[in-house]
Symmetry: D2
């Protein structure tokens, strides 16, 4: 049977691209490393390095960002932790099966590497705070968890002789703690850890704390807001480490922040902007829990007021529809008023594959966090605001202006580097 | 029967707003003055001046543009020409009847003013070039037409003691002349007028020529491209008159130019962007003619390449659906490729009322052309690129960047004016 | 100002159509008589009788139903009850204002008749069971309420010398009683009324009880299920009165029951059918209450299993979006599996005006209930299953088969009537 | 790497299902045997026989049709003709590559059988009438073509000891001959063949003529209308052979004929029904040719008048969008008028895979044509009207009533067969 072009030689081309002598300078240590996004990230990074797929989806593959000396994707080594769950190769296979996104042949060619990556995965038992009901004695103490994570990150770095490890949070939405930390210094945070206050401290805060303690740049792709915890921010300043978040902007909110200004420019007054999100992946299952959903919705709801200057009626519905798998389908109705107060409507339907949209953003963020750390930058990475629903350190919600921050950042570095060359 | 609030007192409030002593400083002399857009423009301008409707739809009603000393809408006097057709009051009534956009009570309150405006309307016989087949002897000579138009504009200005008249082209899409003018100087244009070359010179070129000869700023809201004619551009330079065009951006193209960058930023590769426009007004009927449609489509098709940097498969279909009246319905399918080359889709439906969307833009443009002329600016008005499908003098197609030009323009004038105040 | 054709002569044509000598043979006594549907019903019935609008929306205006000797719409006299609220003329005016459905001139011409109809409206104080928290002493006893309603119906019939009164329930969705009646005979129902068990007996049950006690045919257009109460069914049998319900089928469910069979015929396996309803009228506001929504959703959810033979994942979301007014917008996503188990999708958007869709159905039902009663038929009216989400006495949910029941019914009556003529 | 369940054992399960001793009683001889639909048909038929996929998409797999003694799908042997083009296995592979519909592992397991089937494929040179310009001498004479086809069908039948061969036309839409045959008898048809009138006789007519001459039941799945040719109908009567057509109903028209009655039942007057079809397969490419498109559109346009009883404004647009591959995307806007003449809208988007929708219908039709022939039935198969856009011998266009014809047919045969068993 004839092969679709090139499929047969996938394995060979992959092997060629993985030269043993390649220095894996940068590590990406991922919390939630066996999930859909992480599996897609790895398969996609390797496939692209081997020239099997295009650059599509990667912002950092385009000028001017591609002119910065970002880490090469094939120089990134993956590891991380997960709470049980399917092996990486199973996750990848089920992505094909459920959503037919990743090519079967590609998956087969990758299977050895996925299996090998498992060696760098820490299996963490599920902790009481994630599952609710368990009694305290069931689970490890917070400081033990943090210690285990730090040790694993350190070992990962040493084992592969990595120059730098970026820690990325790709876990699911968690319930917001019922009450905030009592006090907002790093000392207060460390005291609460010491006191094992699992009612106040989420696992995401633990990952951020462990990462920064190990001087690793930190990327929060989840809505869990650990990067808003004052103790975490203080720790990042203290260690002089860059970090970014919250909540990767991949679907409906991406469009909202790209489109809302159109109404503002024309003084078309938005009466209602009603959004419905249907999704069938684990994320969707988690978001059926009202408290987890609340965490998510928070970021989706405040973007319109920021861009329009007033708050229209804006409902956001998230429904779990298992058969859709990873294919998130969003429908939005925008009801607006024009000249002579005549009401009109726009509606859109977005049919995107969640992990396919998210994974390249994560790769972009790893490369940009690595770059920022190398350049000695620290604190919130304002330049990547366009990647997040609720960007740390940036008020602006409009996608176009946010993207301008990234272009300015690139321009500054490119000027500096050409000036250096000029003086040299 | 109880009245919806305020409707009963419309006439009174209107009468109060039209103070006889008001100086109508600026005239808007419109080619196509009895069409839907012009009728909506007048009713809307008066209703807003009387406080009966909100500012919705007007860009110039918002800061920073509202901080410029633009002409007050109630200081604009309307007039123009049309080729037969229904009276203005009939056009307005039929807008209500066909599309239920303008409130009946509002229309009734306006009827006297619409009737009065007819006094400033020049009834021009349809000329051979617009209708195709007629023999030359059937119609007036080009230079006679231009002369009649100039005389009418001059009389309009004098009758109402206007400081300045803005000429606006709101006629339908015309077939592009089969061949261009032989030569590209003002002299060549004038020779062709002298030779009565109706195969080369459209009525729109005549209107532009007449306007500029009378030193009137010129706004081309149609796709007819008279503002691209080199002789016209030369005349504007010579007379030091500002002008702008082409083709008001009100619906599908507006969204395209607002949204396409989202795909570019994320390196989501657009494979196909297929647009379908259904409309039932006169514009729709005219666009059933293949040669008129061609004029229109030209501007709709080249925006994507400009923004994306490559040309995706991009079809634009325009179908005439009489029952929709003025409610233009556009459906677009965007097929794009993300990470791992996975194809995904977005689609949107836009249900907007054509004249309700277009009229406030025309009012904005009249105010801005008046301002530019007052300030001694001339040539293509780059600051209003965001209002046009194919803006004169600006390559940029992205709505957000185009709007940036307008903000910069406003900022320049506001700074200057505050500096003046500072020195005073 | 020229008038849209015929508008100016509305009042005259209306006056001609209301001949004083006309015998109003049939009364329509409506619970919820000041609501949007009732107001639309009256205006529409009168406008059609005067020839001002077409027959659109009326099933009974088409053959074969128009061949039955149904009561003429202009022979129907309206009355009923409501719980405070705006006057009828205000309701009608606000329909125009909020939703621009009914023509202003039409409304003005109708205003006298709407005001006159108020004379036949019973103002009932809101009762504790509808509003929840009030203590028992705040409100009238059930048997007093029923007595007042019966007296009013009787007076209405006598005042206008009506041959027959049809009672129609057009009130909002009510919470389902927490527990069912203890016992399922008419005796049990009457005992509960005597005991004033407002925790078990809804206002809708009272209206049905009063209607049937007065030998009036009963139409339940609401989801309130009083026609499922065994005591009510027994009473209808005892009095030999026809009745029908529940829950008028006007939007999303109408389409579902028209379309679902397409998937069944082709063995296209529906994986998920997700429906979202946005609405901004009183009905929408009421349905924000979880217990009222539950009543409504019950009927929307079971139609698919009946038609497909299996239950797909089927979510129904109802969101209140005030700016939409009466324009209910429904979006449905149907995810289905075809040959080789390939998943495919269909989606639809329905933009319908709720009361414009519901009112003609109510007029159809009044005419058919009147006819059935005249012919001596009683019990559940199976022939009108196509009008309801949850038809009494019929299991079939498919619209096409339900409509077949109506055609068969008409055919039976037409055959019988032509046979009679044959024998005469 | 773990296998998605069962994929690894595909080949084994396939081999088990193809027992050498199986009698292939029925042949399916397909014109256009190397196209997408035919390849999907074969892969799907074999995969289902091996239990690798569900019955989805197959009408004949459901009661009551599954209770008829239809030929088992694994007892069908495939063959046919094509005009050059890719080999079957290549077609199948490219279906995966372009549209990701058929599972890669499934395709691999099928490759041997697809290659083997090529032995039963007649390679016919493209004939002048299909390509237009060639001179007469370039191509074979009509009677030679018919003779070659007949010989091939006969050999196919004998080689595999088939009881019966069904001939199926799955070629593309052809231009309608400029003028009809002069005369409408079989004799006239045969004279035109003798005279080699390629201006009057399409290749589809040749296939039908050859099939019926060989006493093979004939299924026309194309819009080419050879089954309307009077000489062909006469030949079918003469030979007592069943046939059916025209134009498989798979997408937009399917929905139209399922949904239009909803508007009719409610007297909702359809003002406009505007349909847009985007497709990227060979069919789409062919339909870019205006004359081929005309053939197709003819059947799409007349269904509404038949169902509604009047002709609304009904445009059908077909655009070729290569990136969509086999994923046909249709968008329809339905503009209709309800009570009080208020206009409302419904729109739907259909995203279906063309060959996945068509192939199971072809399998259903092969089984039903085989059954009809076995039972001695002949002439137009009215029972399969629901499968066609323009069903032979049936005026009814409503899907539900058409499906009723199939149910009645099944019921008649099942009663007869149970009666026989009763008497036995």
């Amino acid at each position: 049977m004839p092969e679709p072009d090139g499929l047969s030689s996938y394995r060979e081309r992959l092997e060629m691209s993985f030269k043993p002598e390649t220095t894996h300078r940068t590590g990406a240590w991922i919390a939630g490393v066996r999930g859909d996004i992480a599996a897609t990230l790895m398969v996609g990074t390797w496939a692209r390095a081997a020239g099997l797929v295009s650059d599509a989806g990667l912002t950092t593959a385009m000028p001017p960002l591609s002119d910065l000396s970002l880490v090469r994707p094939d120089n990134i080594r993956f590891g991380g932790l997960d709470i049980g769950g399917a092996r990486l190769a199973e996750t990848a296979a089920s992505l094909y099966k459920r959503s037919r996104t990743i090519d079967r042949d590609l998956l087969k060619a990758m299977s050895d590497r996925l299996v090998e990556t498992e060696k760098d995965v820490l299996d963490l038992p599920e902790m009481a705070w994630d599952s609710g009901g368990k009694s305290e004695s069931d689970s490890a103490r917070l400081k033990d968890v943090i210690s285990v994570v730090r040790t694993h990150i350190r070992a990962f770095k040493e084992r592969h002789r990595l120059e730098r490890v970026i820690v990325v949070n790709l876990t699911s939405a968690q319930p917001v703690p019922a009450s905030p930390l009592p006090g907002d210094t790093l000392g207060d945070l460390e005291q609460a850890i010491e006191d094992n206050r699992r009612d106040l401290i989420t696992s995401s805060i633990c990952y951020a704390y462990a990462a920064l303690s190990e001087s690793c740049p930190y990327v929060n792709f989840t809505p869990n807001e650990e990067t808003k915890c004052p103790g975490i921010v203080e720790l990042a300043e203290l260690r002089r480490i860059p970090f970014c978040g919250d909540d990767g902007k991949t679907g409906e909110t991406l469009i909202k922040t790209a489109l809302a200004h159109m109404f503002a420019y024309r003084n078309l007054q938005v009466l209602s902007w009603e959004g419905v999100n249907l999704l069938g992946n684990n994320d969707g299952k988690t978001l059926q829990q009202p408290r987890n959903r609340e965490t998510k919705l928070r970021h989706k709801e405040n973007v319109l007021e920021n861009i329009l200057g007033y708050q229209p009626h804006a409902g956001v519905t998230i429904n779990y529809v298992p058969s859709l798998g990873d294919w998130k389908t969003a429908w939005d109705l925008i009801h607006f008023r024009g000249f002579l107060d005549v009401p009109m409507t726009m509606q859109f339907t977005w049919q995107g594959c969640d992990s396919i949209l998210a994974a390249p953003l994560v790769l972009d963020l790893i490369r940009l966090a690595d770059f920022a750390h190398r350049k000695g930058e620290y604190g919130p990475m304002r330049q990547v605001a366009a990647f997040f629903k609720d960007p740390q350190g940036v008020e602006e919600m409009d996608l176009h202006r946010q993207y301008g921050l990234l272009l300015d950042y690139a321009a500054r570095h490119l000027t500096r580097s050409s000036e250096k060359q000029g003086t040299a």
